[in-house]
Amino acid sequence: MDLKVNDAYTNMAVDEAIAKARGEEKAPDTLRFYMWKPSAVTLGYFQSVEDEVNLKALHRFGFNLNRRISGGGAVLNSERGEITYSVILKEDNPHVSTDPIESYHYLCQGIIEALAVLDIKADFKPINDVVVAGKKISGNAQIRRYGAVLHHGTLLVDFNAREMFGVLKISKEKLSDKMIQQAEDRVTTIRRLLERRIGFPEVRDAMETGYRKAFDAELFKSDLTPYEEDLVKQLRERYASRNWIYRR
């Protein structure tokens, strides 16, 4: 599914709708590219708003607050800084290991290949990251539900430190463990590595090529089915609800 821009709640609803449809054999294996407007802070399922988000800064920037069904860490899904992607397969797909880390490794290969297309050498870093020279460029999360595996992640194209560290609270414990002074040193972006203002369409094309190579797959352009569209309408309501967002 080609690159589309939506708000956070629709974006999450679409991922879950495809997973449900895939599990029920009402949709094929799916690769989806998407972006966000407005930008949003997206929490992992088990994170608490209070611990992770600077709400004053979030409101000042006009960003949405959003929660995934998958675990993992909080990210800033910036409308100008990244392309998000999801891969939805049947849970019993023979390529998808039941071992979580192997499964991340396999499903991150498309991003590693995409970066190779752009002449960037990237590696998988367990548990769920893709790094370039040790710096994170892509974070990923997976959930198995409805008989499907949903793998979604973000690829950093550009980076606004003032926005990211304005809205996200970075744990001192986490920093001390990695012995990193500056949180900013932990991440890198495609534009920083290429030293040019590469456009989103070029990154998107590299991602398509990357996934085609990594999975040796044929890709067909398509859109949500009417069944998935109906699911999105129902699911979006839950994702946008205060009960869901502030559940922890």
Partner: protein, 92 residues
């Protein structure tokens, strides 16, 4: 409110908030950037530990028993790590 946070070496960040009254846990919330499937197991575990007496050995074995009975898949943390943060928060 008692709090403790712990970065699992090579794993994820675990946080706990809890309240103790009259020797019992009255509120417990475990949060962090770990992965757990099925994800509802965390809420069930919290509910089960609420009103537990503060007996740290018993809490640790209850956590191990809960996750092994449920066959919960946890990535980035272990049952012992959950026990560890509760233990430290109680003692704080």
């Amino acid at each position: 409110m008692k709090r403790f946070e712990y970065k699992v070496p090579g794993g994820k960040l675990l946080r706990v908030k809890l309240e103790v009254e009259a020797g019992k846990i009255t509120f417990l919330q475990l949060t962090g950037d770990f992965f757990m499937q099925p994800e509802t197991d965390l809420e069930e575990l919290e509910a089960q530990l609420i009103s537990s007496p503060i007996d740290l050995a018993a809490i640790e074995s209850a956590i191990h028993e809960f996750f092994s009975k449920k066959k919960t898949v946890i990535t980035g943390a272990s049952p012992s790590d959950f026990a560890y943060v509760i233990n430290h928060a109680v003692k704080s």
